[in-house]
Every structure is written in structure tokens, then in C-alpha cells.
């Protein structure tokens, strides 16, 4: 989702494990949390770095599509809400980089990998925000999908990640409610506003479904991640849950989900729905989405333009430390 394509190998069978690995797996099976200083398999550490790193990058890049409308927010109150929301996302990025740092990698290293394209962020942030209704759609659908994935991760096996998720989930559900409130105002507004709300749903529906990652039928190996409890549900389970939760909300708003095949299936007590266009998904992940270059370009520019600022602060801090030591 915010980490859509973190591949791990198939889960190891107990007889393939070393004594240490078996003990580690047993702790996870008992529901114990793994803490930074404790022994962990190298692959567990590497997978978590990729997953938490992707998640952190998604928060930071995710500031951009919504940031696009801050200066055009239509009322002082909406502007304050949006500013605070985008600020929260920066805070989420910060917690997550800190969580990743407990695994022995620095924030600067992670950021360098984002900028070089070695690490990814969620595909959803490569779609443009074209009208004010999109800000509602992002809160409602994108934060909604994020919550779907992150609530179970509050119970994941790695302590710092699980605790970061607890803090983050509280704020995400706030974002989702605000987004829903915004889009309901649009959906019940003037004909033009209604049209914007419907158009936003049309454009964000399938990209939101893509947030959960490829279908379980595809060969993305997540068995090991599930055995380690750093992935709790399968992609398709979460996608189904999201659809089941969101469709009634769309109906309540008087909006139409852009899917002819969407229908309630009484037998499975869930909706049948169309899969997103996975070719489009892979294109976006590869770098060919509508906004990939702009998004990454904006992040790289902010980082490079800010180099003198960070260097200046560091130089002053070093001088101050030097002066203190000389005085002692």
C-alpha cells in the first residue's frame, strides 16, 4: 500500500532455519515484539528497511499533491485544515524515518535512495490533484486506504514500527473524516461542485484500489513477510475491505463509483468489483505515471536548494560546540 511492492522470498520452513531463526520465529508466533537491539535475521532487517523506508517516502512525497492546493484553499478554515494535514504527513515521515533508523540506516541514506530512484513511494502520489474536490477525494479515499492497511500494522512484530503506526493511525482517521466532509460539501453543492466531486471519484477510484498492491494471484511473494508479521493481511483482503467500506459512503454522497461491474454479492456478503488496470499500475511504478518526474523533481529540488541551509546550521552548531569546549 504505502509499501506496495516489497518482495520477500517464500517463507522458510522450520527445518531450513538455524536454531537462532527458529527461536526468532517462535517469539513472533507468540506475538512478542522485536526491539531494535535484539537479534533478527538479516533479511527481516532488510525487508523492514525497504518497507518502512517506502512508507516514509510516501508520506513526504504525499505532501506534494495536496500541497498543490494549499494556496488556493477556498476559505480560511479549509486552508488551516489542509495546512495542518500536510504538516501531519511531514510528521508521519519523520516518525517513520526514525523507526527506520533503529534498523541501522540513516535518514540521509534513505533520502538519497529515494532521490536516485532506488527506493519507491506509493504509486498514488503520482496522480495529479486537478480540482478542489480532489483534496476531499484524497482524504476520503487515499487516507482511507492508508488506514485500512495501517490499522493491522499496529500489531506488527517490529516494536518501533508498530508504535509509529499507533500514532499515525489516529491522525489518518482524522484526515479521512475531514476529506469526507470536504467532498460531501462538494457533492451537495452547486452543479459545478457536484461535477467536480464526481470527476474526482472517477479519477481517484482505481488508483486508490492500486494502493493495496498487485493481486494475490500475481507472483508477489509476501509469504515470508506474513510469517514475520510485518504484513498482516493479503493485498486482496484489504482491497475488498476497502471497497466494502467505501461504496456505501459513495452512495450516501450521491456519487457513482466508476465501475459497471460493481454489485453486491449476497453469497460472499461483499461487493464484486473490477480490478484496476495493472498495466497502468506497473507503468506508474516504473516511473511513467502522470506526475512521477514532477514529484521526484520537486523533492530533489527542495533537498538541493536546502543544502546551504543545512550546512549553515551544522557549521554554526559545530562552532558553538567548539566555543563551549574551549570555555570548559
Amino acid at each position: 500500500m504505502y509499501a506496495q511492492l516489497v518482495k520477500t522470498s517464500r517463507a522458510k520452513a522450520p527445518e531450513e532455519m538455524s536454531e537462532q531463526e527458529r527461536a526468532f520465529q517462535a517469539r513472533i508466533d507468540r506475538g512478542e515484539k522485536i526491539e531494535p537491539k535484539e537479534w533478527m535475521p538479516e533479511e527481516y532487517r532488510r525487508t523492514l528497511i525497504r518497507q518502512i523506508g517506502q512508507h516514509a517516502h510516501s508520506e513526504i512525497v504525499g505532501q506534494l499533491p495536496e500541497g498543490n492546493w494549499i494556496t488556493r484553499a477556498p476559505t480560511l478554515q479549509r486552508k488551516a485544515i489542509l495546512l495542518a494535514k500536510v504538516q501531519d504527513e511531514a510528521g508521519h515521515g519523520l516518525y517513520l524515518y526514525c523507526a527506520a533508523e533503529t534498523l541501522g540506516i540513516s535518514r540521509d541514506e534513505l533520502i538519497a535512495m529515494l532521490h536516485s530512484g532506488k527506493m519507491k513511494y506509493s504509486s498514488i502520489f503520482n496522480y495529479p490533484t486537478l480540482t478542489w474536490a480532489d483534496i476531499g477525494a484524497v482524504g476520503w479515499l487515499v487516507d482511507g486506504a492508508a488506514i485500512m492497511n495501517q490499522v493491522p500494522l499496529q500489531r506488527c512484530s517490529y516494536g518501533p514500527y508498530a508504535r509509529a503506526m499507533v500514532r499515525i493511525c489516529k491522525e489518518e482517521s482524522f484526515h479521512q473524516r475531514q476529506g469526507y466532509d470536504l467532498i460531501s460539501k462538494m457533492a451537495r453543492g452547486t452543479p459545478e461542485q457536484k461535477a467536480m466531486a464526481q470527476d474526482a471519484l472517477n479519477r481517484f477510484w482505481y488508483p486508490s484500489l492500486m494502493m493495496f498492491g498487485p493481486s494475490d494471484k500475481e507472483s508477489v511473494h509476501s509469504a515470508q513477510s506474513m510469517a514475520w508479521r510485518i504484513k498482516i493481511n493479503t493485498n486482496d483482503e484489504l482491497r475488498q475491505k476497502f471497497v466494502d467500506q467505501t461504496v456505501p459512503q459513495a452512495h450516501y454522497l450521491g456519487l457513482t463509483v466508476p465501475d459497471d461491474k460493481l454489485a453486491w454479492n449476497e453469497d460472499k456478503r461483499a461487493y464484486d468489483f473490477s480490478e484496476p488496470d495493472w498495466e497502468e499500475f506497473y507503468a506508474v511504478v516504473r516511473g511513467d505515471g502522470p506526475c512521477n518526474r514532477d514529484r521526484l523533481g520537486a523533492r530533489v529540488k527542495a533537498w538541493e536548494d536546502g543544502a546551504w541551509f543545512r550546512d549553515g546550521l551544522a557549521a554554526h552548531a559545530a562552532k558553538t560546540r567548539g566555543a563551549k569546549m574551549a570555555a570548559e
Partner: protein, 248 residues
């Protein structure tokens, strides 16, 4: 509320509104995550203050803070020219902030003792926020002035460029004199000595030299703005102007 008081509240509200807007342009693009978060805090504080001052300013005519923010043209805005200056590099943004904050804290502390209870109440709340703002911006001006060659050069360039916009904050006019005589606001000129002292100390520590010239651009309070304000308003007011019948 008298006309005079409405007009003065408008000045304070517009300063906060326009500066907040400028800061919000950085959101998502600041040089470090911690900075992004801290700068947005300042933007949010100022936005909250703008809302309070504009509500006060519009109450008599039954205009909401939103009406005032989104339905006035540039000539009706009463902010000082300093706050509408474009962001420039991050050093410019911080220098603009410091010059403003150092004035703001003096103005608000005097206003918190206003004879007008409405003014005093808003100012007292805003003063607490401004105290944090000026502490932060002063610290950054010192650190960057005294950082690397490049950071020093950028901060000096920012000070040189923005200095001519600081003087307007201290220019008195007839309105200011009338309200000062009533004990509602401090006389604009009365804030200068404290500002000179605090900024002088900070610039010395930052190894920065304020320009010798006392020349000051002026006109903001009379609605004569720079070219920078129009595009800012065009963006800020777009939705309200394009869809005047909508509620948001």
C-alpha cells in the same frame, strides 16, 4: 467598533493573512522535514490570528473574515509591503520573518494592554505565539549568519534586499495617531527603539550588517502595494471568485 478601529484591525489581519500565505507556499518544499513542520506551525498561527483580526474588522459591516480575505481586491488590502515580498530563497523567507517577528512582538505586547478589550484579548493570545516565532527566527538568523560563507552571504543579501521594507512598520499616520491618543494602540514610532535594540543585538551576533540607508518603501496601509500582491491574491481568491455562489 469605530471605523478607525476596524481599519486598524484590518491592517493587523492583513499582515497576518498575507505572511501566512507566503509561508504556506513552502509547505512540502522546505530544506528539512523539521523546518517544514516548524514553518507550517508559524503559518498556522498567523492564519488563526488573521481570522480573529478580520472577524473583528468586518463585524460592524456584517462581513465575515472569509469575505474580507477572499472578496477584496489588492487596493483594499492594508498589509505592510514587507509581508507580501516573494519568498525568494529560504534565507529571504527567514529574514523577512525575523524583521516582522521582531516588530510583531513589540506591537502585540503593547496591544495586549489596549483600552479596547477586543484588541487586548486577541493581542494577548497572539503575543504568546509571536514570542515563539521571534525566538525561532532570531535563532536561525544568528545560526545562518554565523554558519558557512555561503549561508552568511545569503543572509546578508536577504537583509540588504528586505531592509528598505522594514521601515514602513514604524511609520505613523493620522489613524495611528488618533487611536494612540485614545490608548487603543501604540504609536507606530514608539516601537522603533525596542526593535532597533533587539534586531541590532541579533545582527551583531549573526555577524550581519544592516544597510546604513534609512530609506523605507511605503504605501501598503494606503492600499498602494507592490506587483507581488496581485498574483498572490489571484491564487488565493481563485475558487471564491470563479464560483461565487458556492459554499465550501
Amino acid at each position: 467598533m469605530t471605523d478607525d478601529r476596524c481599519e486598524y484591525a484590518l491592517r493587523l489581519g492583513d499582515n497576518a493573512l498575507i505572511l501566512s500565505h507566503r509561508l504556506s507556499e513552502w509547505c512540502g518544499h522546505a530544506p528539512a522535514l523539521e523546518e517544514d513542520i516548524a514553518l507550517t506551525n508559524v503559518a498556522l498561527d498567523l492564519l488563526g490570528q488573521a481570522q480573529l483580526w478580520l472577524e473583528l474588522a468586518g463585524a460592524r459591516e456584517g462581513r465575515s473574515a472569509d469575505d474580507l480575505a477572499y472578496r477584496r481586491d489588492a487596493g483594499a488590502f492594508r498589509n505592510a509591503l514587507l509581508v507580501e515580498r516573494p519568498n525568494g530563497d529560504y534565507g529571504h523567507t527567514l529574514m523577512r520573518q525575523y524583521l516582522f517577528d521582531a516588530w510583531h512582538i513589540e506591537a502585540l505586547s503593547a496591544l495586549s494592554r489596549s483600552r479596547d478589550a477586543g484588541f487586548a484579548e486577541i493581542a494577548a493570545k497572539a503575543e504568546k505565539e509571536a514570542a515563539y516565532h521571534v525566538e525561532r527566527s532570531a535563532e536561525l538568523v544568528v545560526a545562518l549568519g554565523d554558519g558557512t560563507h555561503e549561508s552568511h552571504a545569503r543572509m546578508q543579501a536577504a537583509l540588504d534586499a528586505l531592509w528598505p521594507y522594514a521601515g514602513e512598520l514604524f511609520l505613523g499616520d493620522a489613524l495611528d495617531a488618533r487611536l494612540a491618543a485614545e490608548g487603543v494602540v501604540p504609536a507606530a514610532t514608539s516601537l522603533r527603539a525596542a526593535w532597533d535594540a533587539s534586531t541590532g543585538a541579533v545582527f551583531a551576533q549573526a555577524t550581519l550588517t544592516p544597510p546604513a540607508s534609512a530609506f523605507a518603501h511605503k504605501g501598503g496601509r494606503a492600499g498602494r502595494h507592490s506587483e507581488a500582491l496581485g498574483p498572490l491574491l489571484a491564487q488565493m481568491q481563485f475558487l471564491q471568485r470563479a464560483y461565487p455562489d458556492a459554499t465550501w
